[in-house]
């Protein structure tokens, strides 16, 4: 390989190019003189040298005087690696606090680098790490209760959450994330049979009453917090069943109704009062509420679908996604049986609508979105499931005109290609191309966005809506212009996720509590920690042992499931749940879990880790760090997910035991598919020697 030759500089010697420096400057200042001048100059140069050394001799030395002074070590100094603590000796700290103090707990953990990324990336900062810790030991009830403190309905969210925790999971870095969301569901399933002994009515000690408008996730979260604090809470729900968007928006194939209502019933048992079929402004006037209750939380959510404003959108057969979902979920019939259905929009609501359309008997379901395949705002796994079920994706197409027949019924839709969705400043400003497609459909579902309808609720309370129909309110403490009225959930934040709504509910409840106890709502209150973690690129799984991979969620057969509202995800077994909990790295706890990633990262193979992995008896049994091989590169400590392995501040040579400095031949010829610390090689060694392990 003639790489060395390639590199000969192909340049001339300076005639034609324009050197920035005239040649010969290197010697210019030091040319020699001849004769007497040279003789004198020589003596002068000697004197100059003596002068410089004398100057240094009479200035203070820059070194330290060792026994009296000590040189400070830089903070990042890479001394010998050191294991702070190991699994089996120390308990994983659980993040437990009431909502009033929870933000402070999270902020402290973040400031001291003890916040696990799953928890940091969760809008409600659910302690997924603690859940996994309990799950690994089989303490499902504790796991459920720990999660419920923040994520008020683990069973529900365990089926529908968009799990930002798993996106941030450090395990992404190495193989696959922990199945945190399915573990919620496993915990719920273990908890459900025995919940009667844990769910008890809570005492109402405060003597103050709070009304909550809307029984969606946000309203329920606020109610749960306030009930725990001893307030008397009443939720007003305009529909005939509680649950809000969880009930009317989420299709039943993702969230069975008995689970949702089972968990809501638990809240009711604890003391939350829910009054359904009561529309504020119609059945009860807002003034009445103002008079009867000490505080009011508006958590009404988003009720109306937005329309794109194309020609023919008022034709018969064009519907908003929310109406469509409500019809299909609630009644199981949306009047599209045998029809071709087009869903406009690329979000999760659009995917839900499309999949529901299949389930209520549509012949073919198309989905048209402005965004291209890669940029779809819907979660990729949902899109994938929809494709499995037979939804036809038409990405990169915007609505142009709804084609109607004489009787103003939809007969088709003309789509226009979309070139870009956002302009340079990142604002929504689609540009369209010249290609048109016409689809023959009988029904069009608009799922391009939702808005809130709060006119009735605010009438007479003193609150005013802005011209877009939104309620002006604070987005961190959720107060409104009227002191005793608070607002939370999607009617404040806009379309979002269930878990984000729950987080706002917690905040609103904290505000209500501070308001009712006479404290200032916002003074010395720790803001909710909203962190955005990097999205991980998919890890290379070529050399990962199957035992290290994430438990695979079983799905029902796509052809069968698309016909009715049966469960799509079938859930993990308890055994899988235990294993999954044990996969958790317990990030940032400073407790080594024996994950062996340090051993895999070490370029010198000086780390050997072994651990025992029986439920209830998990511990790191061996952590061997051979400092004689260590090159102090720091890669192991840098990637340690728990922070248990740290580079000590010692100077690296302050170790006496560095005698093993030779690699043996076997080490050099080691098979590349693993390291000896993984155990895989050890097993192979034993096998080759004819031993059984």
């Amino acid at each position: 390989m003639a790489v060395d030759d390639v590199d000969t500089p192909e340049i001339d010697t300076g005639e034609s190019s324009e050197p920035k420096v005239t040649q010969g400057t290197v010697s210019a200042a030091t040319t020699d003189q001849a004769g007497v001048a040279g003789f004198v100059g020589a003596w002068k140069s000697l004197a100059t040298g003596l002068g410089i050394t004398a100057k240094h001799a009479f200035t203070k030395p820059v070194t330290i005087q060792y026994p009296r002074e000590k040189a400070p070590m830089p903070e990042r100094w890479r001394g010998a690696p050191r294991l702070v603590s190991a699994m089996g000796t120390t308990e994983v700290p659980l993040m437990e606090a009431s909502s009033l103090e929870y933000n402070g707990l999270i902020a402290d953990a973040y400031a001291t680098d003890h916040l696990a990324p799953c928890q940091g990336n969760c809008p409600a900062n659910v302690d997924a790490r603690g859940q996994n810790y309990h799950a690994a030991e089989g303490r499902w009830v504790e796991a459920y209760q720990l999660v419920r403190e923040r994520n008020i309905m683990p069973g529900t969210l365990g089926r529908i959450c968009h799990h930002p925790c798993e996106t941030a999971c450090k395990r992404n870095f190495y193989d696959e994330p922990i199945a945190i969301r399915p573990l919620h569901r496993v915990a719920y399933e273990q908890w459900n049979p025995v919940k009667a002994q844990y769910v008890k009515p809570l005492p109402k000690t405060r003597g103050k009453k709070v009304a909550i408008i809307g029984s969606g996730p946000s309203g329920l979260a606020a109610a749960y917090d306030l009930v725990k604090l001893g307030y008397e809470v009443k939720i007003f729900e305009k529909e005939d069943k509680p649950g809000g968007a969880l009930y009317y928006g989420i299709p039943a194939y993702r969230l069975p109704r008995d689970i949702l209502h089972g968990e809501i019933d638990d809240l009711v048992t604890m003391g939350v009062e829910i009054q359904c079929s009561t529309k504020i402004g119609v059945d009860i006037s807002p003034e009445q509420l103002m008079a009867d209750y000490d505080a009011i939380i508006i958590a009404a959510g988003l009720q109306i679908s937005r329309f794109p404003g194309v020609k023919g959108q008022d034709a018969i057969g064009v519907r908003g996604a929310l109406d469509f979902l409500k019809d299909s979920n609630y009644r199981g019939e949306a009047g599209v049986r045998g029809q071709n259905v087009l869903v406009i929009g690329g979000g999760n609501v659009a995917v839900d609508a499309a999949r529901c359309a299949l389930r209520v008997g549509a012949k073919t379901v198309y989905m048209a979105s402005l965004e291209s395949d890669e940029q779809l705002p819907a979660h990729p796994w949902e899109v994938e499931e929809a494709l499995d079920e037979g939804v036809v994706m038409m990405c990169g197409n915007g609505p142009n005109e709804v084609l109607v027949d004489e009787s103003n019924h939809v007969r088709g839709m003309r789509l226009q290609t979309c070139l870009s969705v956002f302009d340079e400043t990142g604002r929504f400003n689609p540009t369209f191309g010249d290609d048109f497609t016409e689809l023959s459909v009988q029904s069009v579902v608009m799922a391009i966005g939702q808005g809130s309808d709060l006119k009735d609720i605010v009438a007479g309370t003193g609150l005013e809506l802005d011209q877009r129909g939104n309620l002006p309110s604070d987005r961190s403490v959720f107060t409104t212009a009227v002191p005793k009225i608070f607002a939370s959930g999607e009617c404040v934040t806009g379309p979002g996720s269930a878990i984000a709504s729950i987080a706002t509910g917690h905040e609103a409840a904290t505000s209500v509590h501070r308001f009712l106890s006479g404290e200032s709502v916002s003074d010395d209150r720790v803001a909710r920690t909203l962190l955005a973690y990097d999205k991980y690129a998919p890890a290379n799984l070529d050399h990962v042992e199957p035992s290290r991979l994430r438990a695979v969620m079983p799905f029902s057969d796509p052809d069968e499931r698309s016909k009715d509202f049966r469960n799509v995800e079938l859930g993990l077994t308890v055994e899988e749940g235990l294993a999954e909990g044990a996969r958790c790295l317990r990030c940032e706890t400073n407790i080594c879990v024996g994950c062996t990633f340090c051993a895999r990262t070490c370029p010198d193979y000086c780390i050997t880790v072994e651990r025992r992995d029986d439920p209830g008896d998990r511990m790191v049994t061996k952590y061997d760090l051979d400092l004689s091989k260590c090159c102090f590169c720091g890669l192991c400590a840098e990637q340690c997910p728990t922070g248990a392995l740290q580079m000590s501040g010692q100077y690296e040579l302050s170790f006496y035991n560095r005698d093993l400095t030779l690699f043996d031949k076997g080490e050099m010829l080691r098979d590349v598919s693993g390291t000896r610390a993984t155990g895989a090689d050890a097993a192979a060694d034993h096998a080759s020697k004819g031993e059984t392990t």
Binding site: M1, V3, D4, V6, D7, T8, P9, I11, T13, G14, S17, P19, K20, V21, Q23, G24, T25, V26, S27, T30, D32, G41, A42, S45, L46, T48, G49, I52, T53, H56, V62, P74, E75, R76, W77, R78, N172, F173, Y174, D534, K535, Y536, A537, A539, N540, D542, H543, T601, P603, C631, F632, C633, G634, L635, E638, Q639, M647, M668, R670, V672
Partner: protein
Amino acid sequence: MTNDAQGTAAEIVSDGPSVREMVVNVGPSHPSTHGVCRIITHLDGEVVTEADLVIGYLHRGIEKIAENRTYLQVVPLTDRLDYVGSMYNNWAYSRAVEKLMGITVPERAEYLRVITCELQRVASHMMAVGSAGNDAGATSFFVLAFWIREQVVDLLARLSGSRLTYNYVRPGGVSFDIPEDGWVEDLRALCKKTPAALEELDRLFFGNVIAKDRTKGIGVLSAEDAIAAGVTGPSLRASGVDFDLRRDEPYSVYDRFSFDVVVGESGDSFERSRCRLLECYESLRIIEQALDQMEPGRTTAPSIPRLIAPPAGEVYERIESARGTLGVYLVSDGSVRPWRMKVRSPAFTNLSVVGTLAVGHTISDLVIIVGSFDPVFGEVDR
């Protein structure tokens, strides 16, 4: 130590035909070989008639080991190539991996790389210039040059956690952002006060009549010979060839800085060493500009997994290290380990001319000539 078959005094007293020629074995364990180089020197009186360089005493097979390591694990290995300028090795290797992967490095990381590598250039040149002086017996000059290096290395240790093998530049960025403890201020202060110290060093050694007598006209390397032998870096520029990758093939963000390329004329040991000293001024200029231009931001490219598996292919990336053109040739077969890594090390090619240059000079000049090429044997032998 020198009881070598080729170098005992017995040959001097023997009556054989070789009575007038003495073989002195310099190295591999010798104060002036800058590592472990062996020079078998044939002397006529004190004049060198033949100098054979024997290398390979520090061969650790790093290129071969790299084939058995993941892409991230190779970074600490590259630290050990040119251990006086670890940053360059990290950088050249990381650039190769990034090119394979098609990663765009965030700007702040590029600036940090420029800053650390120019700091490294100062540190490396101070070691080179100082030990070139030490070869001529100027021990205090060596230590005073090392004091400048020491300050630089302290800053690098605060940034990266290590003084010599930084493991700082990684595929996709750098491992740490600047620490919050006044690092930037300290660096600016260093940039301000170092030129005066450099000027003092210049007067102490390069202005000294003895040093000039010792180094001027010693080991003159002509521009044609230098290019023919593939000599690069300050050793090439001292011969009057105006070639610097930072300017002629600007990589990273080097096209945003104004700096001069120091070019010599005669190509003797004096100019080779002083060229390095003068380059330190330019490095400090670059650092100051980089500090002014740098903006906050991320220091690693997003979405880089721990186990990098670049698509199959081969790349060659070269940068200007303190010793010259440092190239890394990397072949990937799509797995998580490089299929082949080859380092084009400037010290190795530069050293190839030493044997011929030394002929006709005395043995005292031989060590001066070796020192003026600034060889680092970790890089020569690899």
